[in-house]
């Protein structure tokens, strides 16, 4: 899982710590349906199990999300990727990178891990074809030296899936 090393990982700021602790408590009380967080003592990296919703293409499939928090979370978006094997989806690259605007340009500090998870599940659920993005090979090749998806300049062009 070396590909997931985030760029220049700095320790969480105190604000980020407080906020994440709060989110963790909230998650434990009220986890989003279909997700399981394997709590570790590493607050800065969450590994979350995703269960495909029933009645969708991903029913009975389980994937793992890896969420890495930057120093200035929540001002800055967390890095969210699927740990390969990633689900086959028109917006999910085989290296686990997810093309979803809220993870990058449209991030807002009012979002939470929980709300991100729901967005990702919704993205999976609305998929009509199990396929990789058209530019998958090119993109993955470009990212081979462990580049973070946050360094990618994404084009968000599809509002259907």
């Amino acid at each position: 899982m070396t590909s997931s090393s985030a760029p220049s990982r700095k320790a969480l700021s105190k604000i980020a710590c407080n906020r994440l602790q709060k989110e963790l408590v909230e998650w434990q009380l009220n986890p989003p349906a279909g997700f399981k967080h394997k709590v570790t003592d590493n607050l800065q990296r969450w590994v979350i199990e995703v269960n495909g919703a029933s009645g969708t293409l991903y029913t009975n499939e389980t994937y793992q999300l890896q969420v890495d928090f930057p120093e200035h979370y929540p001002m800055e978006a967390p890095q969210v990727i699927f740990i390969p094997p990633a689900p086959l989806h028109p917006h999910i690259y085989s290296n686990g990178h997810i093309c979803l605007d809220i993870l990058y340009d449209s991030w807002s500090p009012a979002m939470t891990v929980s709300s991100i998870c729901i967005s990702i599940l919704s993205m999976l659920s609305s998929s009509t074809a199990k396929q990789r993005p058209a530019d998958n090979d090119r993109y993955v090749k470009n990212c081979r030296n462990g580049r973070s998806p946050k360094e990618t300049r994404w084009w968000f062009h599809d509002d259907k899936v």
């Binding site: 700021s13 105190k14 604000i15 407080n18 906020r19 709060k22 989110e23 909230e26 200035h72 929540p74 001002m75 605007d101 340009d105 449209s106 807002s108 500090p109 009012a110 939470t112 300049r153 994404w154 084009w155 968000f156 062009h157 599809d158 509002d159």
Partner: protein, 356 residues
């Protein structure tokens, strides 16, 4: 038949009365039977930055009004969750029952305003730090909060300021996103989203509504003042407490200033004759008694300026301000000078009364 006309006349008069009481906040859709939209706000003495809730009520009466009660509903509301909306409606309903078959439009509106005034505080958690907006922080202090003027989303002042500084800082250090916006057909591009392209603009973290610097004007002073400290570095955390205190301090200072001015206008202040500013090391030549006032009056004056009950500060606090120079170092140097001068005056007075 005459009585029917009379009744209609009375109802028309009532509508007119509502109009005159609420002015622009009242929209008359129809005079008879009355159909009104009423924009109700809590009583905050017209200080809109202190207003955290509002609603537009719809009142619709039938031809049988007032024998038949009017129907009342909430058309729109800001800052009110379902529970609080239900509470508002329940209170109005109660009033309707209480006043059955009387003319009640004005009473209902007043009731609504009353209820709204009681609920005039933000609800729930700050969307940024996820801690409650209105809750004691354990030290008996209320964390200062504010709302965005356009969408009424509320945040802790210090949280929104951090976000504001962050987006300002991003727009400075991220020239790529400024130079060319990604051509995204999906949603608005980065620069639009964050409002980083135009200076003094941001987006609400909750609803993404673009807000102008004027929207957060009521806390913007702090932003300007604290920008160097709020560089989002680790050290900033240590400043937090200082920072909050400073905000409280600012309000307190404002109150004190207002009070001082009032006293000044009423000739309730004894000012030193000459406009000398005392600097450390400067020697005050002779204790001077203000000529026209007796020592007794002086003693009275001493207590008056700062200890009026309207001031929410404790007696000793305004006087301390001059000494904590680190906090006063910004922007209000003039005030500090003034306060210092006042303090000195009082000190001189005290000296006088003991001498005589």
């Amino acid at each position: 038949m005459a009585s029917v006309e009379e009744e209609e006349e009375e109802v028309l008069l009532e509508v007119e009365a509502v109009e005159s009481v609420y002015g622009e906040d009242c929209l008359v859709i129809q005079r008879f039977p009355p159909h009104l939209h009423l924009h109700i706000k809590p009583r905050t003495a017209d200080d809109s930055s202190q207003q955290f809730v509002e609603a537009i009520l719809e009142l619709r009466a039938g031809t049988q009004y007032p024998d038949e009660p009017p129907r009342v509903g909430i058309r729109e509301s800001k800052g009110l969750d379902e529970v609080r909306q239900a509470h508002l409606m329940a209170s109005i309903k109660e009033k309707v029952d209480e006043l059955s078959s009387c003319l009640m439009l004005i009473a209902l509106c007043e009731e609504a305003v009353q209820v709204l005034s009681h609920m005039n505080h933000p609800d729930g958690d700050c969307p940024l730090c996820l801690y409650p907006l209105v809750k004691e922080d354990g030290h008996g202090n209320l964390l200062p909060f504010m709302k965005l003027m356009s969408c009424y989303h509320c945040f802790h002042s210090k949280c929104i300021i951090k976000w504001w500084n962050w987006i300002q800082q991003q727009s400075e250090t991220d020239p790529i996103s400024n130079a060319s916006s990604t051509s995204s057909s999906y949603s608005r591009s980065r620069t639009d989203m964050r409002g980083t392209e135009k200076e003094n603009q941001g987006t609400c973290p909750v609803c993404r509504k673009v807000f102008q610097a004027t929207d957060i004007e009521h806390v913007l002073n702090l932003i300007k003042t604290y920008t160097p400290e709020l560089s989002l570095e680790e050290t900033e955390i240590d400043d937090d407490e200082e920072f909050q205190r400073a905000e409280v301090e600012n309000i307190r200072r404002k109150n004190f200033e207002a009070l001082l001015k009032l006293q000044e206008e009423n000739n309730g202040l004894i000012k030193p004759r000459r406009n000398e500013v005392l600097l450390p090391g400067v020697f005050l030549p002779e204790p001077v008694t203000p000529p026209s006032i007796s020592p007794k009056a002086t003693a009275e004056q001493q207590t008056e300026p700062s200890f009026t009950p309207t001031s929410e500060t404790g007696p000793s606090k305004p006087l301390n301000k001059g000494s904590t120079s680190a906090r006063n170092n910004f922007r209000t140097r003039k005030n500090t000078m003034r306060n210092r001068r006042v303090r000195t005056t009082e000190w001189v007075k005290k000296e006088n009364s003991t001498v005589e």
